[in-house]
Amino acid sequence: MSDKVHVSFTVNGEAVDVLVDPRELLIHTLRERLRLTGAHIGCETSHCGACTVDLDGASVKSCTVLTVQCQGAELITVEGLAGPDGLHPLQAAFVQEHGLQCGYCTPGMLVRGWRLLQDNPDPSEAEIRFEMAGNLCRCTGYQNIVRSVRRAARELRGEPVAEGEAATE
């Protein structure tokens, strides 16, 4: 019973091929087989969003996806956000606006915030809060996370934000 299954997909643009038990969750394949340890395990019950990755253009909680469901999928993890020139503007904004305290939720926040800005380059604060609601920060430092996303949105739209200038309305 439960023979292993070959699954092929791409992660951060690279093709991979894994042999997994059907019950293996995507978060474990990413962390333990592919050594992509950016996505974290928080609650394991699809509440906290620490395990968020991008699956075929949508944010998902990888603790509640089976790897076998990802045949042919395109995945992006936090490791795929930075480019050859360094940090992605959203990552830089988290540094500038102190969007991380202990950092545990940060990879999930970044992948989710990145997708949000792909879908909506000019989100209002209310939209950011609604769209980031699946990501919990156990330090509850949401204010700076929202500011970080706002700053990144402005920078990605080509409106430079001066050092020290809070990315508020």
């Binding site: 019950t45 969003g49 944010s59 509640t64 980031m132 609601a133």
Partner: protein, 291 residues
């Protein structure tokens, strides 16, 4: 937390899924978005020997209009309900509900069918589909049949659906133009299930209630359609006194279980308030006010 062992089958179409359902030995489960089933499997509340994944079946997806009805594939995600232009125009109650379910990541995976057919009394779509007079189109070894959402739910996780049957579509009569709608849900926090919620579809004619549907979520073993309240309101003007009476009657019609979200008394109280809010909001919308 990892699910127990099972054999995985990715069904390529409805026929194959039906064949797998009837041929495989042992407990079989259908996998839609997985956000109810996989957590239950992690906790060993469910230990199917076979998992039949519906994820690749395109004929189970999509939203279309057909002869005065909306036909929605059960594998349509909450995110797709939220983004649908057809629903925004024809049946705004559905996206309004989807918006209040879980969070963006869960809505990207969770499906209308999975929510409506899982049988959890706390899920939002069962009461909403009941208010909309929806019907499930069901296929099984004995052919195709339909079952109305009103009456489909028999108890927690118990429904009028055989082990070897599959829902292939959800059909919803398009609500009358100018109808009012509302889904009022109290939850403890973003992304939570309802402490109590009320769904309402309302048609007014010359200031009087011509037709009303009122249903409640998480207030009994199944969704509750409050016939008494519907009767109380039909043919009457919807004034503050009536709305108050309706709220009290709805609270009295509940049979909630005690859980983390509150005592039966508290939930019944919230049911009354959600009913009053749903009626007021649906009335405002029917009169052309709030959208």
């Amino acid at each position: 937390m990892i699910p127990g062992r099972f054999e995985y089958h990715a069904a390529s179409g409805v026929d194959e899924a039906l064949r797998l359902l009837s041929e495989l030995e042992g407990e079989r489960a259908l996998l839609a978005g997985g956000h109810s089933l996989l957590p239950m499997m992690k906790l060993r509340f469910a230990e199917p020997a076979h998992l039949i994944d519906l994820g690749k079946i395109t004929e189970l997806k999509g939203i279309r209009e057909e002869g005065g009805e909306l036909v929605i594939g059960p594998m349509t995600t909450e995110a797709e309900l939220l983004a649908s232009d057809v629903l925004a125009r024809r049946c705004p109650l559905l996206p309004e509900v989807a918006r209040q379910i879980a969070d963006p990541q869960v809505r990207n995976r969770g499906t209308l069918g999975g929510d409506a057919l899982h049988g959890d009394p706390a899920n939002d779509h069962p009461a909403v589909l009941t208010a909309l007079d929806a019907r499930f189109v069901i296929r099984g070894p004995r052919g195709q049949r339909e079952s109305a959402a009103d009456g489909f739910y028999l108890g927690p996780y118990l429904k009028d659906l055989g082990d070897d049957e599959l829902v292939t579509a959800i059909r919803i009569p398009i609500p009358a133009p100018g109808h009012g709608h509302a889904y009022c849900k109290l939850k403890r926090k973003t992304g939570d299930w309802a402490t109590a919620a009320a769904a309402c579809i309302l048609e007014l004619a010359e200031g009087r209630v011509q037709r009303v549907r009122l249903t409640l979520t998480n207030l009994g073993p199944t969704p509750i359609r409050v016939h008494d309240v519907e009767d109380l309101l039909t043919g009457e003007p919807l004034d503050a006194g009536r709305i108050e009476q309706a709220g009290q009657a709805a609270a009295a019609a509940t049979d909630p279980a005690e859980d983390l979200r509150g005592s039966p008394e508290y939930k019944a109280h919230v049911a009354g308030e959600m009913t009053r809010r749903a009626l007021r909001l649906a009335q405002e919308r029917a009169e052309g006010g709030a959208r």
